[in-house]
């Protein structure tokens, strides 16, 4: 069991996502430290991929900026090594199957373990294909995170029973990106999740405002935010860390305040 569960020990979790190397790795490091300082519970570090098929245009562009800037998997590993000198909260990688496969799955996953990466999120590795990397993840003690989508229906229980670390619940159809409104009826999905596992679950895709984050975290154990953070990076570039710190604080405050009513 990894330390991912620690991220959920202090109440509702805020899980920000950042694409490593956008616009450069020094900015990423500064952003991560701002997120930690302002109360992020767990951070998803995106390793850039040439063709991120599950991403909307905001994160697609972040991937391209990072790759154009010369970011490679090896350089992301160096970044994590640096971060782990002072960053204690759980860190997971979010990337695509070919980034792991192309690097050499055992070399990649063993390096993750050695650097203190707690989990791996691969949106193009569904339940049926997790055997591709699961034995290596088990061998080295890295959680392979499972995802549930609005279309999962009869598959939810099957996925949830074997899930590790935390469950990533995809709020909406489509790819990543901010949405004005999340229309999926998530409560029945969460109910099946709760019936089948004790591990925490967090909701992502489409969340940007503190109100949305609070509503999603109230339904589950936490909120995941990606595109809204990448937009701040796209706007402010290497000046983004302080803005991302402030944004983190806003979201964390909205999650940690006590609310009686359902939002």
């Amino acid at each position: 069991m990894s330390k991912i569960k620690n991220a959920f020990a202090g109440g509702k979790a805020f899980i920000p996502f950042i694409t490593c190397g956008d616009p450069d790795l020094a900015t990423t490091a500064a952003c991560v430290r701002e997120m930690v300082k302002n109360g992020a519970s767990l951070i998803e570090l995106g390793i850039p991929f040439s063709d991120p098929t599950a991403e909307g245009v905001v994160i697609q562009n972040a991937n391209l900026r990072a790759l154009r800037g010369g970011t490679t998997t090896d350089k992301v590993f160096e970044l994590v090594k640096d971060l782990r000198r002072d960053v204690k909260i759980p860190l997971v990688f979010m990337t695509y199957a070919n980034v792991v496969f192309g690097y050499g799955a055992e070399k990649f996953i063993s390096t993750c373990a050695a650097l203190g990466i707690d989990g791996l999120i691969l949106p193009d590795l569904p339940f049926e294909e997790k055997g591709e990397f699961l034995p290596l993840c088990r061998k080295y003690g890295v959680d392979l995170i499972s995802m549930i989508a609005p279309t999962s229906e009869n598959r939810i229980a099957m996925i949830v029973r074997e899930a590790e670390g935390f469950l990533y619940i995809v709020s909406s159809l489509g790819v990543t990106g901010t949405r004005n409104k999340i229309v999926t009826d998530l409560a029945p999905i969460i109910k099946i999740v709760r019936e089948n596992t004790k591990i925490p679950c967090a909701i992502g895709f489409g969340i940007s405002t503190p109100e949305q984050a609070r509503a999603m975290a109230n339904l589950s154990d936490g909120a995941i935010i990606g595109s809204a953070i990448i937009k701040i990076l796209a706007e402010h570039g290497s000046n983004a860390p302080k803005f991302i710190g402030a944004y983190t604080k806003t979201i964390v405050n909205s999650l940690r305040r006590k609310y009686d009513s359902n939002v």
């Binding site: 991929f49 040439s50 063709d51 098929t53 599950a54 909307g56 245009v57 697609q60 391209l64 790759l67 490679t72 998997t73 090896d74 695509y96 199957a97 070919n98 980034v99 792991v100 496969f101 192309g102 690097y103 949106p123 193009d124 590795l125 569904p126 339940f127 049926e128 294909e129 055997g131 591709e132 995802m147 549930i148 989508a149 609005p150 279309t151 999962s152 229906e153 009869n154 598959r155 996925i159 995809v170 159809l173 489509g174 790819v175």
Partner: protein, 396 residues
Amino acid sequence: MTNAKGRFGVYGGQYIPETLMNAVIELEAAYEKFKADATFNAELEKLFNEYAGRPSRLYFAERMTNDLGGAKIYLKREDLNHTGAHKINNVLGQALLAKKMGKTRLIAETGAGQHGVATATAAALMNMECVIFMGEEDTIRQALNVYRMKLLGAEVVAVKTGTATLKDAVSETFREWTRRISDTHYCLGSVMGPHPFPTIVRDFQAVISKEIKSQMLEREGKLPDVVIACVGGGSNAMGSFWNFIDDKQVKLIGCEAAGRGVDTFETAATIATGRTGIFHGMKSYFCQDEFGGIAPVYSISAGLDYPGIGPEHAHLHDTGRAEYVPITDAEAVEAFEYLSRTEGIIPAIESAHAVAYAQKIAPNMPKEKIIVITISGRGDKDCASVAKYRGVNIDE
């Protein structure tokens, strides 16, 4: 252990987001049901014969045979199908299947535009909504096909992301499918993507080799010695090979687009320059960098300009049952001109890659040997880009 479903050796599988899993499971169930359904097959055969103009001709290319002075050369004329390419075979099958599944909307990627035109055609025929995703670069290279699709009632979305070519069109169509699944079928154009697509597309294209076999037995009383087809994703090649796979004496050759050469970065020859990877829903060979990034590829042919190859081809390559050879832009353009001059047949620039390899091997083969080349499409669409390659400016 990896999932055994939809595997060709180690290749294939279903590497897609969870959001799409029930969609491919539903598709597989529907396909299993309808492929054995007599009514479905009768309807499809009727569409093939009366609408698409099947069976396509197996034509003895006498002038080319005499000119090359070796093996007898036959051309499987998929270019004579309605819409001008083999793509219609798969599209009619998938559109009919989608209709039976209650879907009302078809989406598809296209490279050269042939698959997009075929999908738009089937959508018009079956009264379905249609959206085609095409790399912006390709909408310029193949402007006429964009107009044809619109004329047929389809919406054409120019994809600007990444390299703005076929791979980006495929990615964008997958993204669109995750946005809208319940009424939409992704009519994938090649023997690629997640299971069950490589199998479905192969089965609908297998009519090509089924016909070659019976036509050849009728004409020559024996099987061909070599079957040659071009390979991007590999649907016309898979269709041309399928019914010969157990006939070990028939040599199967796939021609990849080498672009400016396999020793340059401007190539799309996946088997020659790629390695095993996971992308677009499948494990197969891909052109990629040392970190698994998908490499930008290049070919004069928009239809072969793809960094991967269908998983069953990867398996046929590994087992040695089929051979894959790279053909450069220069060789393909010469073959394009050669077939036009020699037989009065303008092949698609994709198909010209297969013609080019036949030109290489036919002269060294005895006269009693037989080569079949699949002419996967007609070349009218390529005249402007070949002219440009030759430095001739023509208005389209």
